[in-house]
Symmetry: C2
Subunit: 225 residues, 2 copies
């Protein structure tokens, strides 16, 4: 998924990687693919000088990432109009080496910096929430009991532009020191992935109702099971 030599320069010095810069990427194709492959992000905001990191769902439409919650949600209220950091990480594997220090992990991650903004226009907000449902469960929005104005009012949706972002990707086996290669211990990679269990319908779902189709962020990787 990622070229070994980066061709897109960092859009700012704040998102230039200092540690292991060879694992850095700033092209939108790499960034978007990671954002779309996981439904969960961690949002960093500052309250009275103290950082808070809050796990939350995210979805992407075009050049923006979106998050949602209660209109009175603290993280979303603080984030509105201020600089946040939103991070998405996927742990793809454990890397076992012959020395302790060369143990590592395979991963894909994105960090986005910028000012988040609350969407005020009700129609736009409704369209984004539809996009959220559809991104996880394509075709589901029209099958649901329609959203009410009260529900829309109770909900805040924030957008964050993808202008200042970086990706970091590691893959492959352990990078042992040459002199250690004959050390007799198992070394290699243990792949990890998110697996879906069998869908469990609740007691009110009529028998024979088809379970939902799943969107990209939660669909099983083709050939993985």
């Amino acid at each position: 998924m990622s070229p070994s030599v980066e061709t897109t320069p960092p859009p700012s010095d704040r998102v230039r990687l200092r540690r292991k810069p060879g694992r850095g990427h700033h092209d939108r194709a790499t960034i978007d693919a990671i954002l779309d492959a996981a439904p969960l992000c961690h949002v960093g905001v500052v309250v009275d000088g103290q950082p808070y990191v809050t796990p939350t769902f995210h979805w992407r439409e075009g050049d923006h990432l979106y998050i949602h919650g209660a209109s009175k949600n603290r993280t979303l209220s603080v984030a509105d109009g201020t600089e946040v950091c939103v991070t998405v990480s996927i742990l793809d594997g454990l890397v076992l080496a012959r020395s302790a220090m060369h143990h590592s992990a395979n991963f894909r991650s994105v960090m986005i910096l910028g000012r988040a903004h609350r969407i005020e226009d009700p129609d736009t907000k409704r369209a984004r929430l539809k996009g959220f449902i559809e991104s996880l469960y394509p075709g589901r929005w029209d099958a649901l009991r329609p959203m009410t104005d009260t529900e829309l009012k109770a909900t805040a949706v924030l957008s964050l532009a993808l202008d200042e972002a970086s990706a970091k990707v590691r893959d492959g086996g352990p990078m042992d020191d040459e002199a250690d290669l004959s050390w007799p211990v198992w070394s290699g990679v243990i792949p990890l992935r998110t697996a879906l269990g069998a869908a469990v319908a609740d007691a009110h779902t009529p028998a024979g109702t088809p379970p939902p189709a799943l969107g990209m962020a939660v669909a099983p990787i083709p050939g993985s099971d």
Copy 2:
């Protein structure tokens, strides 16, 4: 895993849940179980007023959480002696309801606030790094090429006390509005979990070398596969 009514009060007002407080827990048994069930955390620090959220491995020994990286790592350098937020989240399932707003997720998460501190004493640092390897791969430390002083020097380990922390846990099915229960759409839960792929030895591992035993944070859930 979690009592439905919380009996342990929040240790500070900063870690008292405002949204869905009934899902909050402050007892160490609940907090420790979540920290030990996942290897990955997200560390929040503030640099020039800007929050940064960095994904990193963590491990716990007793009343402290530990993280590690390069001695020159920016996140670790900034975190030393300052207030950080470390968040661990596990996504256990997707919850599908009959109305858009009642869609949700099952999850377990912990947020820890406090001052992190770099471990200066080399023997203590070495013992903690051994603890890290052993927590993921019990019995592996003694099988590895011994760690050198240079490697130890290149590495920073930070500790964070678990004094000011909270957990939040959701489980169960959708919480639909009573009037929607007959709406004819599939509703229920799609469980998610982390699955391990088959371990892939690298080219230098002698044939017949046994693959590693796995510790709690990465072992498959009993009965899950």
